[in-house]
Symmetry: C2
Subunit: 199 residues, 2 copies
C-alpha cells in the first residue's frame, strides 16, 4: 500500500482550499455546522493553520460571502446577456437565475445578507451592489427606451431588486412551494414591471 504522500510543510494553496471546503460544508449543513477545526482536519492541516489566512471565524465567513456575491454576479450577468427577447423576458430570466442561486445556495445566501459582518465590510456592501448591476442595467435600458417610467435606474431598480430578493428569500424559507416558484417568478417580475410602465 502506498504511503500517504507526505504533504509539504507549506501547503501552498491553503486559503483557496479552505474556502472551497467551507463552501461545501455550508452548502449541505448550514453556517452553524461550519467548524474551523473540522475543515482543517478535512484538508489535513493542523487546527490552527486556518488562522494564518483568516484571523477568526467571522473573517472566513465574510470571505465566503464575498465569493458568493461574485458568483451570484457572474450568474446574473450571464443570464442577462445570454437571454434574447424583450425587457420582461430578460428580467424574468435574470430573476429565475437569482432564485436558482438562492435555492441551490440557501445557506450561502443567508450568509451574504446577514447584517453582522466584521467592521470593514464595505467590500461586502460593494460586492452586493455590484452583483445586482445586471438588473440595474436592464432597468436603465428600459427607461432609456421609454418602456419604463423614471430616470434613476438604481432607485427604480430597487423595487425589482427587493421583489426578486424577497421571493428568493421566501423560497429558501420554504414559504413558497417549489411547484409554484416558477410561476411566482413570472408573476412578481411582471407585476413590478407593469407598475413601472408609463401611465
Amino acid at each position: 500500500m502506498a504511503t500517504t504522500s507526505p504533504r509539504p510543510y507549506h501547503h501552498g494553496n491553503l486559503r483557496e482550499e479552505l474556502l472551497a471546503r467551507a463552501e461545501e460544508v455550508v452548502r449541505d449543513g448550514g453556517v452553524g455546522d461550519l467548524s474551523l477545526r473540522e475543515i482543517a482536519r478535512d484538508i489535513g492541516v493542523s487546527h490552527a493553520a486556518p488562522r494564518r489566512h483568516f484571523p477568526d471565524r467571522q473573517a472566513l465567513l465574510d470571505a465566503l460571502a464575498l465569493r458568493g456575491f461574485e458568483r451570484l454576479g457572474d450568474d446574473l450577468r450571464a443570464s442577462a446577456t445570454r437571454s434574447r427577447g424583450g425587457l420582461e423576458a430578460r428580467l424574468v430570466r435574470v430573476a429565475a437565475a437569482y432564485v436558482r442561486f438562492a435555492t441551490r445556495e440557501a445557506a450561502l445566501l443567508e450568509l451574504m445578507f446577514v447584517g453582522k459582518h466584521r467592521d470593514g465590510a464595505d467590500d461586502l456592501h460593494d460586492a452586493g451592489t455590484a452583483a445586482f448591476q445586471p438588473v440595474v442595467e436592464l432597468i436603465a435600458s428600459g427607461q432609456a427606451a421609454g418602456e419604463l417610467r423614471g430616470t434613476d435606474p438604481s432607485q427604480t431598480g430597487l423595487a425589482m431588486f427587493a421583489a426578486i430578493h424577497g421571493l428568493a428569500s421566501l423560497a429558501t424559507a420554504g414559504m413558497v412551494a417549489a411547484d409554484d416558484l416558477e410561476e411566482a417568478v413570472r408573476t412578481v417580475v411582471a407585476g413590478v414591471l407593469d407598475g413601472l410602465r408609463p401611465r
Copy 2:
C-alpha cells in the same frame, strides 16, 4: 444590607424569563452571541436548568422565532386595522410597520426566516403565513372591490409579500440607506400595486 432574597428552588416562570432574556441578547448581539449558559447565569439559575424547558439550543431558537412571528403578526394587524385611507395608503402603512419591525429586530427576523429549523417546524411555517394574513386580507378586499386584478389573494399577495420582505431584508443588510427607506417603501408598494391594477 439585605441578604439577596433566596430564590425559591422552583423558579416558577423560568421558560418565559429565558425567552425574554434570550430576546434581549439576540436583539443586541445577534444569534451567534446567544449562549444557553450565559442567559442561565443572567437569570441566576444553573447552567443545565434551561434544558428542562428546551431540549437543545435549536429548540430555544425556534421558540424565539415563533414568538417573533406572533409579535410581527400583531404589529401588522394593528397597523392594518388602525390605518384609514385607501388601499394603497393602508398597504404602505403595513409595509412600513414590517420594515420597522425588521430594522428593530434584525437578528430576530433572520432567525424567523432561516431554513434550518428542527424537524416539526410546521408550527413555524403556519405562524409565518398567519403573520402575513393582514396583507392577504387587504389584497383580498382590493380584489373584491375590483381595485385589483385576480381572484386568488394569497397568490396575488405573494408579489406584495415578497417585495415588502425583500425590502426589509435589504434594509437590515444595509443595502438601502436609512434615509431612502421611507420613500423606498412607498415606491415599492405603489409599484407592485400598480402592477396588480386592472388593465
